[in-house]
Symmetry: C2
Subunit: 476 residues, 2 copies
Amino acid sequence: MGKENQFVKEIADIETDFPQWYTDVVLKTKLVDYGPVKGTMVIRPYGYAIWENIQREMDARFKAAGVENAYFPLLIPMSFMTKEAEHVEGFAPEVAVVTHAGGAKLEEPLVIRPTSETIIGHMMGKWVESWRDLPLRLNQWCNVMRWEKTTRPFLRTSEFLWQEGHSVYATGEAAEEETLRMLALYREFAETVLCMPVLTGRKTEKEKFAGAVATYGMEAMMHDGKSLQSGTTHYMGQNFAKAFSIQYTGKEGALEYGYTMSYGVSTRLIGAIIMTHGDARGLILPPPVAPVQVIIVPIAMKKEGVLDAANALKEELKAAGIRAQVDDTDNSPGWKYNEWEMKGVPLRIELGPRDIEAGKFVAVRRDETEKTEYERADAVKTVQTLLGLMKKSLFARAQQRMQSRTVTAGSLDELLQGVDGGNFVRAGWCGDRACEDKVKEFAQATARVIDENHTETTCICCGKPAKHTVFFARAY
Amino acid sequence: MGKENQFVKEIADIETDFPQWYTDVVLKTKLVDYGPVKGTMVIRPYGYAIWENIQREMDARFKAAGVENAYFPLLIPMSFMTKEAEHVEGFAPEVAVVTHAGGAKLEEPLVIRPTSETIIGHMMGKWVESWRDLPLRLNQWCNVMRWEKTTRPFLRTSEFLWQEGHSVYATGEAAEEETLRMLALYREFAETVLCMPVLTGRKTEKEKFAGAVATYGMEAMMHDGKSLQSGTTHYMGQNFAKAFSIQYTGKEGALEYGYTMSYGVSTRLIGAIIMTHGDARGLILPPPVAPVQVIIVPIAMKKEGVLDAANALKEELKAAGIRAQVDDTDNSPGWKYNEWEMKGVPLRIELGPRDIEAGKFVAVRRDETEKTEYERADAVKTVQTLLGLMKKSLFARAQQRMQSRTVTAGSLDELLQGVDGGNFVRAGWCGDRACEDKVKEFAQATARVIDENHTETTCICCGKPAKHTVFFARAY
């Protein structure tokens, strides 16, 4: 059994050293590698294929919603950044700056986009003339850069890939509606594609986007009970419209400023998948985004007909749109089981001479351990059913964890105890920044989102009447 | 008729002022806009949708060929650039340099990738250990930056989007084969997806990629008879393998350097489409990449049932996978005809009360002028047939132009006359750089590719025996 357990031994224990488990898993499954510049990552084919699946699913939703893709330049004049006061304060400290190009010093330094509100605002100011041009709803898939001090692959890297949607509307109501509509789109995506339950809600002033009137977030509970911000949408009011002269002539002929909003998710979602579903043996990938959904391991591979039967099954599954692969390497079946388990492939099929003769195959879901025999003739239907069941099961398990690990606290001590135990903690809050800061200092926990279901009556910190009930948690 | 001709009047004459025609067309059809930083472009939704179609078609070909996508960092340490002597000489003058990030000066300046041989070479050196790891065939879709002095949207911009494929093989033969295989893939793509005939062949030493052993190019003839380099593949030998220690242990246990190659096409292909197929009225988009393949213009739109009939037809076409749209704006039909002609939509359908009553519709191909009546019941089949015919016809027309405008010259004067007349000129060449330089000086023409069909016996310049027959042309 020594060889069979080799992979598992190479991964740190998920319960006692989750950070090391994460690093081991992302590197050993070849999702990612460290780039040569500090804080950068290389997304390897197995990781990039997950991103492509995320992109395809998300992009289809944007297109169905009527959003159009475009591409805006990487480099932003430094002067653009300073046009919105809060925005520059938030992003200036972490931008990378181009000072030289084409062998000469630039007249004005250029920043590599940390986000594109400014340059897109500038272009929208050029394009929008009349109320007929509104709403204007654009999205881009691109790389962005934020110079971070402590980095971890997928979770926080100086460069990452994302989509950023930017819309301008004639009225504030319409722009706010879009902000909530996109939050709902993200939530539906997280639940059905990533099998990941989330909390969604408004962020506090302290946690909002630099330059926004209001930010809404999607938070997911990771294996260790910490929260990962997995997507945000921002209502900007007229802040950027005024900074970049996004003005339109209304139906009555008056010149008006538009109202803008933006929204984004990034390669961080890959980190969310890993830390939501993974277990002691490695990754567990949700079927909708798994690069390989079914791995077929031939047993007694050298025996006549076995490999052919495995390949025939693979082709049948692929023809039905299932991402199937045969492991025909020289490794032992046990080695293959461990490798593909670590890589999180949702379904393993074992196919040996006896199965073939009996018209059967054996399948094991990655989130279970028992092997079950099925009729070969029903392979496509069976695989589709098993992948569907696994999808539901992954979601239910994660939801069960989040629900059982969400507590309500009546005091700072209870809150501390709650987050120490890896819980999301609901608590009343008066709305003052000072109390929010004190919670952070006392419990190293931050306000993740405001709970729409406002039940608490007193602030956990100062005891004054609570304006909001807030979900507090330690966060990535 | 005044309003109907408004668009055409706004576009410069294609025959007498082709550069201005190009600028007018790309801006007025909203393919692109100028970015705020000199030399940058914003790709607007109509242009980006073409790029998405190119990506989808090309990416499917890469995946079918077994190439995997990945993503490498944007920023490359300056020291990497200098590891391959020719490479740094070629690219150093046009890189953009990040000197500051996160509020501090960097210890080592970082360049924004002009191309990624160096950083991918570095990672491949880390990943490749044994012959079992080879071949390693990766591709990335990304942005790159080359600081250019004179720029034009799509054709030459400081930032552009592209794919860059990079492979490492155990032998030089295998890497060279891949270099030619990818050139053939590009050619098939150009011919069938872009309806664009191309010359393919090896580049001269002068024209090859900085750091390559051999570069192969795909050249297309534009409307004005000039050539546009539309894709290149490069065989690197061991140049980059040695610079970045891409070494593997062979089957016999010896440590060997790998052989690398790379290949790329970019958003320049959008420029190629525009300048290959466009006419006096604007764009003509090849059906496989057109964002809108069929525009339906309702006639007497306010009459009961007309708009419903147009929408029903659209849905029927969309269900068959055809990108169809209804123009239900308040503009006149004549205005709509001109607008969608300028935007190059392959097929226009006119649908009015009489057509609906008679069970007919009228269609006009963008590359023709006559309107034809068809049976409404056969709409899907008819549209598919018309789009297929148009595809063939666009290719044939462009091929006819390239063939009729390719001449063979026996003297420098003939060569000059040839390129002045907007031709590709075949001529003998001794192989000396001095003669190549002289042709450039004398005729402002460059060696596009070497003709595999070597027919000429003397060098057009020095009269010595010709080593090669070369296609010379003025080029973008």
